[in-house]
């Protein structure tokens, strides 16, 4: 019998329809993938299931009983826990306090029993073979990937019958993502239902027993996973056929060096990085996570301090803050990793997010030209197919993937010609991914220089002209032409450096 049955589920936000008449059913002991474009309603669906928002219409049955949680507590009481896309962690609490938040083991004095909490934390981390975490570390000191892992631990700490993972792999590096996939199978084997949301087809393929496809807030299909092809799934997701994910790689690099970096060092994370990014080139940056990729991108953009020299279009420049990086016509722009923390103003509209940093471009004689602004915003929204009710919708209420598109658009509107793309397709649906890759190639052909990091290794392999592999804060290898493959990247990332 089905553990969860959903019928006619609807949810509106003002004029925006997030879900309309969605159906869904899943059994205990299975991994059930939920697929759909950005803004299809996946997160809204799981927010309703986990009590974070309430639906307007339709019914949910859990275990054959009516289910309508008024808040996350009520959902947890019925054994439903969610690992949220936007994470539900508290920056000022420690890792273990976050994991057990509101369910802390207590002493006779009603205070937190720290010893017991530590013991339970270690037992939990051990039981599911979690990657290394320091239980006493404050959360705000952790990287995004580490936070994602804490969020997973927090979900599991409730020993739920239904665990919902909303794009939980998207913030994880390859190895941790692989661990999570195995963990997901293990949880299903324990008899739990895991509802799994991801934009990575390979992952869904690897673990899902069944899948449900959403489009525009409605369910378009449900399948047994092995009875349907990738192509059919993608076609149902986006409502049209998609021939190939990766655009053709036509080399457009010139000899002109756009960004020359020498002896770049920052603390213990970056030690002597040298490379040259050419005009018209897409240069990939790979390697195991935590080997200096983030620091490299952050410090090239001036967000973290570093030493060494940078030459921008042949001139030596010093970049000590993002303002300097963006200055001038041919500066440096960054798509950051932590979009909610660094990239977006969540309480500002889509329009404002796109144009705030380039407001000068719509000013004539000191006056703002609203028309000009509106035209550019419309162009960008259409171009990236940002799914927003109007350009005035608050960025914080967009779906995760659409938020990422806004950041991308914001960067494109600056007149920078050196683009630092740190995981630009994280949380982005296949159709849009394809567009972003095409866009990267088009920009390169126009003479932009692109430094590109992805947590999804095949993207590096298929999109970049060359790949720098980082290890211990250095460039361990530079792969070109036929040498660019997942195996080569991994080898260079893990083995002692040998001449490439």
């Amino acid at each position: 019998m089905d553990l969860v049955t959903v019928k006619g589920l609807s949810k509106r936000y003002g004029g925006i329809v997030a879900l309309s008449e969605a159906t869904f059913s899943a059994r205990a002991g299975e991994v059930h993938a939920l697929l759909g474009e950005n803004g299809a309603g996946k997160s809204t669906f799981i927010q309703i299931l986990s009590g974070a928002v309430q639906h307007d219409g339709g019914s949910i049955m859990v275990d054959g009983q009516e289910y309508r949680p008024a808040n996350p507590d009520a959902a947890q009481a019925r054994g439903i826990a969610a690992v949220f896309q936007e994470l539900s962690l508290i920056p000022d609490l420690s890792v273990e306090q976050n994991i057990w938040f509101r369910h802390e083991p207590r002493t006779l004095l009603r205070t937190v029993n720290r010893g017991e909490m530590r013991r339970k934390t270690l037992a939990l981390l051990e039981k599911y073979n979690f990657p290394a975490l320091r239980p006493d570390q404050e959360l705000r000191r952790l990287t995004l990937a580490e936070r994602q892992i804490v969020e997973i631990a927090k979900g599991l700490a409730k020993d739920p019958r239904i665990l919902i993972l909303d794009e939980a792999t998207s913030a994880l590096p390859a190895r941790e993502a692989e661990w999570l996939l195995k963990l997901t199978r293990q949880l299903a084997a324990e008899g739990r239902l895991v509802i799994f949301i991801s934009h990575r087809m390979a992952e869904v393929r690897a673990i899902a027993d069944r899948l449900t496809i959403f489009r525009n807030g409605s369910t378009v299909a449900a399948h047994e996973a092995d009875a349907v092809s990738d192509n059919e799934i993608v076609t149902q997701m986006i409502g049209r056929r998609l021939d190939r994910l990766y655009p053709e790689r036509v080399p457009t690099a010139t000899d002109r060096i756009a960004l020359g970096v020498k002896g770049f060092s920052s603390g213990s994370r970056l030690s002597g990085v040298d490379f040259a990014l050419r005009e018209g080139e897409v240069l990939g940056v790979g390697g195991l996570q935590g080997h200096g990729q983030r620091e490299l991108f952050q410090s090239l953009f001036g967000a973290t301090r570093a030493s060494g020299t940078i030459e921008l279009w042949g001139n030596q420049v010093s970049i000590s803050n993002p303002r300097q990086a963006l200055t001038g016509k041919d500066g440096i722009a960054l798509v950051p990793e932590d979009r909610r923390g660094q990239g977006l103003l969540l309480t500002k509209s889509v329009r404002e997010n796109l144009t705030l940093s380039v407001i000068k471009r719509f000013t004539e004689n000191g006056l703002l030209s609203r028309q000009k602004e509106a035209a550019l915003v419309k162009e960008m929204v259409d171009f990236l197919r940002i799914k927003a009710g109007t350009p005035e919708q608050l960025a914080g209420t967009l779906s995760g993937g659409n938020q990422q598109k806004v950041i991308f658009g914001k960067m494109l509107l600056t007149q920078a010609r050196v683009l630092l793309l740190y995981d630009p397709t994280r949380g982005v649906d296949v159709g849009t991914k394809r567009e972003i890759f095409q866009l990267m190639r088009d920009l390169a052909a126009k003479g932009y220089a692109i430094l590109f990091h992805s947590s999804d290794m095949p993207e590096l392999v298929h999109v970049a002209d060359r790949v720098l592999v980082m290890r211990n804060g250095r460039i361990a290898a530079t792969l070109e032409g036929d040498h660019i493959s997942e195996e080569e990247i991994l080898r260079a990332a893990m083995l002692e450096t040998k001449a490439a």
Partner: protein, 334 residues
Amino acid sequence: MEMAQRPAETKLTKPAIDWRGRLLDRAPFLVACLMLALIIGIYGGLQSGVFSLDELNLDTAAAMTLMLAATGQTIVLVRGGIDLSIGGMISLGTVIAATRFTDNPSTTALWALVILALGFLIGALNGLLISLLKLQPFLVTLATWSILNGVAMIILPTDGGSVPGWWVGFASAQLIGLTSPVWMLLALLLFWWWFRATRVGIAIQATGSNEKSAFLSGVSIARVNLVTYGLSGLFAAGAALFLVTQTGTGSPTIGKDYILPSVAAAVIGGVSLFGGRGHLAGTLIGAFVLTLIGNLVFVLHVSSYWQPVASGVILLLSVLASSVAEKAARNRVQ
């Protein structure tokens, strides 16, 4: 069944403790301690007998009203809010005490309880209004401050009334050489040590740290507000009851002198105005700093108007210290 394997590159060995990070986190508190030491040092150099139990007893009594008010304020600040209404509550408390307390201990005790209960209820009302109307705490408590002030004026238009001598005597009662204010100070610290480790205490801190996350984790924000502002009102009422042991009378306007100093004491002690971070120990040190500055100005024989000037400078210095530390810490994590 396939077991999830730990990612090969990661090890379960403990990384080294980040001492510098920890130090930076505590920088504002350490700066406050340093300031206090400095002030005591100067004060001790100018005046004899500063390093004695008597002095401790005296200064703690002088600081205790502020300490009580600032304890409530600290809870509110950690929640990410602010409570201006404590000014009105303190005034109201003193006028009720000065007009209702009698020589009969049981009548007086009853009215003291009434004042405390009133403090909690009015505070809880603040919390309720903030949640229900989704209004800024600043605005809501500004309004209740004005209302409470008015009520205090209606009860007792000018300073006056009195409290019984035995109530005044409470502040100088001694146990093993320490007066009751010193014991209260210890009790406050004990309370905090307990409170911040309870689920409610953690939920308040978490809500101040990130309200959306707290909500998603199942915290009832309305309940958190109720308890937070309720406690703040309760401590303000306690401050009023203590204050009358020092003044002996009621005053419908005296409370306003504690509103901003209660925030200043907390900020000097390293409590963040943005919520989520801070400890009572810091606040109490801040209250001592603000009180001793008054003593210092007195023994320096300069105009007493230098006291607010010095307090302001100290406030600026500590805000500066915490922002420098914060920046350094942020540069390290990225």
